[in-house]
């Protein structure tokens, strides 16, 4: 009914965090604080991946809801809002399906980040072996 709103709200929060992190990283780079010698993926880039999944996924799900007539271009935008019983059902769906969607996408993103760091570490180790 409106499950896509939870990942959509999360993506708004992630965008704000991503911008703040980008600013912090550019400040640190200007001050020349980075140089641990190891190749690292910036946190802002990782947030971009999460945002891509959350925003892209909720955009396509929003289209599905328009297709099924659950979202309209006029107020109150969600057809379930016009009836109290439907509104309650919608809120229940948001709190169960919507939250689970956001949680699964975030968990998948966490897995991607761990895998990306492992791949980077592996290639750094291989490069070290060939130089020794």
């Amino acid at each position: 009914m409106a499950c896509f709103t939870v990942p959509l709200v999360e993506s708004v929060v992630v965008t704000a965090v991503e911008k703040a992190e980008e600013k912090r990283e550019s400040n640190t780079a200007e001050q020349g604080k980075i140089s641990t010698g190891k190749a690292m993926i910036p946190l802002s880039r990782k947030f971009k991946w999460l945002n891509g999944m959350l925003l892209g996924g909720s955009a396509l799900l929003a289209f599905e809801h328009v297709w099924h007539g659950e979202v309209t271009p006029w107020f109150p935008f969600l057809t379930a809002m016009s009836d109290k019983a439907d509104a309650m059902e919608m809120l229940h769906e948001i709190s169960t399906v919507g939250v689970s969607m956001a949680a699964l996408v975030t968990a998948a993103w966490f897995g991607i980040c761990v895998a990306a760091e492992a791949i980077l570490k592996r290639s750094a180790d291989e490069a070290e072996k060939t130089t020794v």
């Binding site: 892209g56 396509l60 599905e64 699964l104």
Partner: protein, 107 residues
């Protein structure tokens, strides 16, 4: 059916992204979009399976056709979003050079 089409699209664009020569085509946006939507529809499918049980795997032909139609429409929408973004960001400078060519001809 929508979930299946979305997963196939996600796998296809991921393979395309893996075999890319450079990032000019910005396929990454499609990869994240399709995987994000697939995960969300997977959750939807799990909840529906819990509610319906084995009946979930025996959809009516009309529902299946409508879901397939929706799946293809979703893929089309994602491709439109991607191509519009590609033209606006113009990483290869093709749009810019085409516009400059036109403006040079006019002047």
């Amino acid at each position: 059916m929508t979930l299946l089409i979305s997963v196939f699209a996600a796998v296809f664009v991921t393979v395309k992204w893996y075999n890319r020569k450079n990032d000019d085509m910005q396929i990454g946006i499609l990869v994240f979009m399709f995987w994000g939507a697939s995960l969300m529809w997977l959750v939807d499918a799990i909840f529906e399976y819990v509610e319906l049980g084995a009946e979930y795997f025996e959809p009516a032909p009309a529902d299946m056709l409508n879901d397939a139609f929706l799946g293809l429409a979703v893929v089309a929408l994602a491709l439109v979003i991607w191509v519009v973004r590609l033209l606006i960001t113009d990483p290869k400078g093709s749009v810019r050079s085409a516009l400059l060519k036109v403006s040079r001809k006019n002047s």
